[in-house]
């Protein structure tokens, strides 16, 4: 660094500069760790040691009160974008066999004409999470719940892998392509509603969110209403309930109609 005559502890520059910096540090420490926490009127410090621990950011023990348990089951699922990616052929094959019992509502190619969700090409993590939630009661449906109760963990993985493997087909679009409504593209910032498209397609996709293009408008609308009323509550961190509660009926209608009118993402990328 420098080949000056080495600085020694006798050099007044060394002594004074180190002393000055140390004094400033000591003064700031005493003020910040002892004096201020103790003189603040809203401080909870019960003594000097408590003040020091609090100022240092030591984690306080949570209160002894137990958290309030909800009176309904909550979803334990943890989502990652790579979850269940790269399924093997055996798993997809087993899923295809199991899926025969689903075809009456979800369609033999995973595309429904019964206002049930289309599953062809859906993200596997999304399908797996819903099946698991149906099985453990976090999501309740008179038709789906009995089906899900009989599935093993491996069955759910196989089904998710099979439907993810199916090609995304253009769905039934009576209305034709609609322009993107503001709720899908921009959300409603002052009501704390993120754009639908930021997670569900049109703009971007986030882990755990299904893509919605081509889904039945009736299904999307009924699910948004179920989230808004609290009838459905298996969304992670309550994010869909928070969004749906603040949406107007017109916005719910617009979003449902828009997504129903869109071709699936793969079809769109081919046609462009």
């Amino acid at each position: 660094m420098s080949d000056e005559a080495p600085l020694s502890l006798k050099d007044p520059w060394v002594v004074r500069s180190v002393a000055a910096v140390a004094a400033i540090f000591a003064g700031a420490t005493i003020l910040g760790f002892a004096v201020l926490p103790l003189v603040q009127t809203n401080a909870r410090a019960s003594g000097l040691w408590d003040a020091i621990c609090s100022a240092a950011g030591v984690v306080r023990e949570p209160t002894s009160q137990k958290p309030i348990e909800p009176d309904f089951k909550i979803s334990p699922a943890v989502m990652t974008p790579d979850m269940l990616r790269g399924a093997d052929a055996d798993s997809i094959g087993r899923g295809a066999t199991l899926a025969q019992q689903c075809a009456i509502c979800h369609g033999p190619t995973g595309v429904s004409r019964a206002d049930s969700p289309n599953l062809a090409g859906q993200y596997p993590a999304v399908i797996y999470k819903q099946l698991e939630d149906f099985q453990m009661g976090a999501r309740v449906n008179a038709i789906m719940t009995p089906f899900a109760l009989r599935l093993s963990g491996q069955d759910m993985i196989d089904l998710a892998s099979y439907y993810a493997y199916l090609p995304r087909l253009p769905a039934y679009h009576p209305a034709g392509l609609l322009p993107a409504p503001r709720i899908v593209i921009n959300g409603a910032p002052l009501r704390n509603i993120a754009p639908c498209g930021a997670c569900h397609g049109a703009l971007d996709n986030k882990a755990g969110s299904p893509w919605l293009e081509g889904q039945s408008a009736v299904y999307i609308k009924s699910q948004l209403q179920a989230f808004a009323s609290g009838e459905r509550r298996n969304d992670i961190s309550e994010q869909m309930r928070n969004v749906a509660r603040r949406m107007t009926p017109e916005e719910i209608e617009e979003a449902a109609q828009y997504y129903a009118s869109q071709p699936s993402p793969d079809v769109r990328s081919v046609s462009h």
Partner: protein
């Protein structure tokens, strides 16, 4: 003596090239989120642009300026050819490769995580690796500056180190150490998650690591500007540096107290204890000391020039100054903006006052006033001053330079003053669009529109800057005198060892890092339950 002209020019040209691109993005951002434009239909494009703008303006542009200017200082102030030119080119190559590697995924929408990374958002690994390469390239420059100074000292035992080189090496050491924080965050946390080796990240720790870099990086950007204040301005207007010792002390103080203060960026973060926030706030306040020393010394140096030019009386020397000289003009504008920006900074660094402006547009207004204003306008001055010595061609169109500097100054003021104001009104930052029709936000619509207009003025000034440089390239070749820096009124015969080297001050900087960052980092690193799931940006696209 300027031997490595091609090397220095390469740094400056690449710096200004990427600066020009980022400037266009910045103006576009100001426009699309203003009421002059409807809500952007794809907010991701906005964040993509902000990421590119920030990564270029924060990491690539000022680093290249500091490196190029540093090589010029080393050769011309020490009067010896640069030692290690091949290494210098290797450093330049790393910065170039790193910049391209980082900006490519950002342009593709695979890393719209902003230049401050914002974990748990995770982008494409090439973005992070590119930034690391830029930093590693700049570390080569740090090593070369240290080696060149060491060689000069061995050849000139006991002689005072020339001021520009002393300041330059202080700045390089500051950068070397302050970049370590972000490097640790990148290498230990972000890159492993981006590569899929793990899917959770300790966000609190990452933010504290980044704060280690985030504040002192501003002083790293500021060092070339301060060197220009002290050692270019007085020479350009025919004056002297008022005090050699004051300049050394100012840069030493920057080196010691600029780094262990970054936690004032995390005043809103619950994972950091209030006591450490107070300590960092205290040391941030100390930065006012070298700043005010500089203001005093530079004003005194300029007064000397004014009086030498025949200025009389209490303020007469001001009128006698060469106001048509672009360097004088740039420095005056820079001082005005530094004054306002510094005043705003005092609010940000105060734990209590910060609460009113934290995460609002005030903060973005503040750092644009300081960086785009006070700092970058002196980068222009450095380029204007150095260019003829690098190209061997005169920059003759002084009127165009003045117009450029005036436009930049007016543009930055018009951009940033309303920007501060809407922050006080509570307008949040990092938003792609705002509902200006809502009663809560309608008061911000007009100032934001003015601010966007200011951005266009700034853009126009950027165009003029390139016009000056390109016209200079067409000028006939000429003989230039050796490049030289200002000297002090009383050039030092001998200086104390402590003021002629940086060892003591680097040791104090390291010591303060341990005292101010040691406990918060260890506590966050070893506390269980700190990791949260990563949110991959563009992963399913």
């Amino acid at each position: 003596m300027l031997n490595s002209r091609r090397l220095i020019l390469a740094h400056f040209w690449l710096a200004f090239l990427v600066f020009g691109m980022a400037l266009v993005l910045g103006a576009w951002q100001m426009f699309v989120r203003s009421p002059l434009h409807t809500w952007i239909s794809d907010p991701e494009l906005y964040y993509r642009s902000v990421t590119a703008h920030g990564a270029i303006m924060g990491y690539v542009f000022p680093t290249l300026i500091a490196m190029g200017f540093g090589y010029a200082i080393s050769e011309s102030s020490l009067g010896q050819p640069l030692i290690g030119p091949r290494w210098a080119w290797a450093g330049f190559g790393l910065v170039l490769v790193g910049a391209v590697m980082a900006i490519t995924p950002v342009s593709l929408g695979r890393a719209s995580v902003l230049y401050t990374f914002y974990p748990p958002l995770i982008g494409n690994p090439f973005y992070y690796i590119g930034v690391v390469l830029v930093v590693v390239g700049s570390w080569i420059w740090v090593a070369l500056m240290s080696i060149n100074l060491g060689a000069w000292k061995r050849a000139n035992p006991g002689r005072p180190v020339p001021l520009p080189m002393f300041a330059n090496v202080a700045g390089s050491y500051l950068w070397a150490w302050t970049a370590v924080g972000a490097a640790l965050e990148l290498v230990l946390q972000l890159i492993p998650v981006a590569l899929g080796m793990t899917s959770t990240i300790n966000v609190g720790l990452a933010r504290v690591f980044f704060s280690w870099t985030l504040h002192a990086i501003v002083y790293f950007w500021l060092i070339p500007t301060y060197i220009a204040y002290y050692t270019i301005l007085p020479r350009a207007i025919g004056g002297r540096i008022y005090s050699d010792t004051m300049m050394r002390l100012a840069f030493i103080a920057f080196l010691v107290v600029a780094m262990p203060i970054g936690i004032h960026h995390t005043f809103g973060d619950p994972q950091v204890g209030a006591g450490f926030k107070f300590i960092h706030s205290t040391f941030t306040a100390l930065v006012a000391v070298p700043t005010l020393m500089t203001v005093f010394t530079i004003c005194a140096s300029v007064e000397i020039a004014g009086r030498l030019r025949g200025g009389q009386g209490l303020f007469g020397w001001l009128a006698a100054l060469p106001w048509k000289n672009p360097i004088m003009l740039a420095a005056a504008f820079s001082f005005v903006m530094l004054g306002f920006g510094g005043a705003g900074g005092l609010i940000n660094m105060s734990y209590q006052l910060d609460a009113t402006v934290h995460n609002t547009q005030w903060v973005t207004g503040h750092f644009h006033l300081i960086f785009a204003g006070a700092i970058v306008i002196m980068y222009f001055a450095i380029a204007y001053d150095l260019w003829p010595h690098l190209t061997g061609r005169a920059l003759a169109d002084v009127a165009l330079m003045r117009a450029q500097l005036w436009l930049w100054f007016v543009g930055i003021i018009v951009t940033t003053f309303p920007w501060h104001w809407v922050g006080i009104l509570g307008m949040p930052r990092r938003m792609a669009y705002f509902d200006y029709s809502a009663p809560m936000l309608s008061a911000t619509a007009f100032p934001v529109a003015i601010s966007a207009f200011g951005a266009f003025i700034v853009l126009a000034s950027g165009v003029l800057f390139f016009a000056v440089l390109i016209r200079g390239q067409a000028a006939p070749r000429m003989e230039t005198e050796p490049y030289r820096f200002a000297t002090a009124v009383h050039p030092p015969v001998a200086v104390p060892a402590a003021l002629n080297g940086l060892g003591l001050w680097v040791a104090l900087m390291l010591g303060l890092t341990i005292t101010n960052y040691g406990y918060p980092i260890l506590q966050l690193a070893f506390r269980p339950g700190g990791a949260v799931p990563a949110v991959y940006v563009g992963a399913q696209r």
